[in-house]
Amino acid sequence: MKTVLTGNYAVSYGAKLAGVQVIAAYPITPQTQIVEKLSEMCAKGELNARYMNVESEHSALAACIGASATGARAFTATSSHGLAYMHELLHWTSRARLPIVMANVNRAMGPGWNVWVDQNDSLSQRDTGWMQVYCKDNQEVIDSIIMAYKISEKVLLPTMINLDAFVLSHTSEPVEIPEVEKVKEFLPSYSPEIRLDIDDPRTFGTLAGPEVYSEFQYKIQKSMEDAETVIKDTCADFKDFFGRSYGMVEAYKLDDADEVIIATSTMAETAATAADRLRSGGVKVGVLRIRYLRPFPAEEIYGLIKGKKRVIILDRNISFGAQGIFCQEVRAGVYGRPCAPDIYGYILGLGGRDVTPDKIINIYKDIKTSSDSAKRMYWGDIKL
């Protein structure tokens, strides 16, 4: 059924369709509507799940961990400081190999207190062992939640679906809600081999000394690497079922492009609009949208940008003392490879500062005149 939904409600409907059995969450702007809607669905009996009110985000994820360990499909949603508060348990989730899915509304970290879009919340959790997806529109949000359970339950690692604060969370767009029967067929019920079971008691998260710890880390890394194939297969499956196509990256007019703009989330669509305008001026610019931060599709990105003249990377985040985080990832991924292009890193749109095509076009002009790719980063829209 095609209807009009905000990004937040797209998350709620996605979780409902995925048949989540336990939801534990704590409200925070701009995520609140996600959990309000889910609690309403549970109260009305539309969703047969246990909705747990908890006293913090730390407890929310702890409750999901317990539920997931029993083999239940668990879901939570948060944003910004709420995600930061989950930090310890983010590590726990992945190292316990629990396929929990969460939605994170990308919002700036304070102070200055700021509820607007910025990716530093989820990127600060880069190394916690969660798969991370960045969505460009509300259709992708609902579809990604459904796909995430299938992927996570295969590779036994959790997934975080990220959507831009307000720009998606509070913006209404047409969304095709998949049919429930078809989703059931696409996403079979979850039945882990090892689960918390009172009839077969075991100790979970037990001591693992130096004689076995490294092997557990090896297994997580291997699963992350294998996840690339699982993600691609699941996306192909999804296309067969629902007709919509996704991947780890999305290429826009890259084939004949001399120059490439790399961006994530909604900013990538704005970059595509900018690329169209630049193309009408006679220059061949394409856009590469990175959809997955973890596992990081470095090979695929290298394959798409090798031999190009220049690459501009737009980051709505910053690793202080270094550079934009996606820029750093791409640079690490192509370092030392033949025909790697010159890379220019730009930081813009922090804390909800609006990013328009004009801004991106100005950055493009900037690299032609004054920028040096040896410099690790530039500011794209700062008042100096």
């Binding site: 604060a165 307000f166 720009v167 998606l168 509070h170 913006t171 704005t270 595509a272 609009t273 328009t356």
Partner: protein, 185 residues
């Protein structure tokens, strides 16, 4: 087509943008609508935005050069530059008892007025201190651009308003019929 709504917190411009947005969606368009991002403050000047297009909307930023403006509260003309960025020849629809000719703008725009307060109160929507006018304003706008069938507006109202659906539809229908359109200034 891009439309910017001006009102004050609590006047219902967010629901107003939802009614019009859904109405355009039901009549076969791609739409995108969103409130001014941030914290809600009752009484403070507030904006909402609506994009309508035949193809997928890729614009994920604010509207700076709207085709049309909808003004829920004419008092805002004193404090807010409501026509900022308005494209040449665009409509500005004002909730007011006055005739379009009684408003003057420097911009090259078309003015329409509708007594949405009066129509809403006749249909017992809200009270004199705070009439609920979003359906009436949406109904009036549907007539201006001329590509929006009223059936779509009625369907959108049923989905967007929490109560008194029938009264809201009547209110919108009345406004659709009574809207006063001025000439190009």
């Amino acid at each position: 087509m891009e439309i910017r709504f001006h009102g004050r917190g609590g006047q219902g411009i967010v629901v107003g943008s939802s009614i019009l947005g859904r109405a355009y969606f039901y009549s076969g368009n791609q739409v995108q609508f969103f409130p001014e991002f941030g914290v809600e403050r009752r009484g403070a000047p507030l904006q909402a935005f609506l994009r309508v297009s035949g193809t997928k909307i890729k614009e994920h930023y604010n509207i700076y050069e709207p085709d049309h403006i909808i003004l829920f509260d004419s008092a805002l003309l004193k404090s807010v530059n409501v026509t900022e960025g308005l494209k040449d020849g665009g409509w500005i629809l004002i909730n007011s008892r006055k005739a379009p000719g009684e408003f003057a703008f420097v911009k090259n725009c078309r003015v329409a007025t509708i007594d949405a307060d009066g129509i809403s109160l006749e249909n017992k929507l809200g009270n004199a201190a705070s009439p609920i006018i979003n359906a009436a304003v949406a109904g009036a706008f549907a007539r201006l651009v001329g590509i929006l069938p009223f059936d779509s507006v009625a369907k959108a109202i049923a989905e967007s308003v929490p109560a008194k659906i029938e009264e809201n539809i009547i209110s919108a229908k009345t406004a659709y019929e009574k809207v006063m359109m001025g000439v190009i200034m």
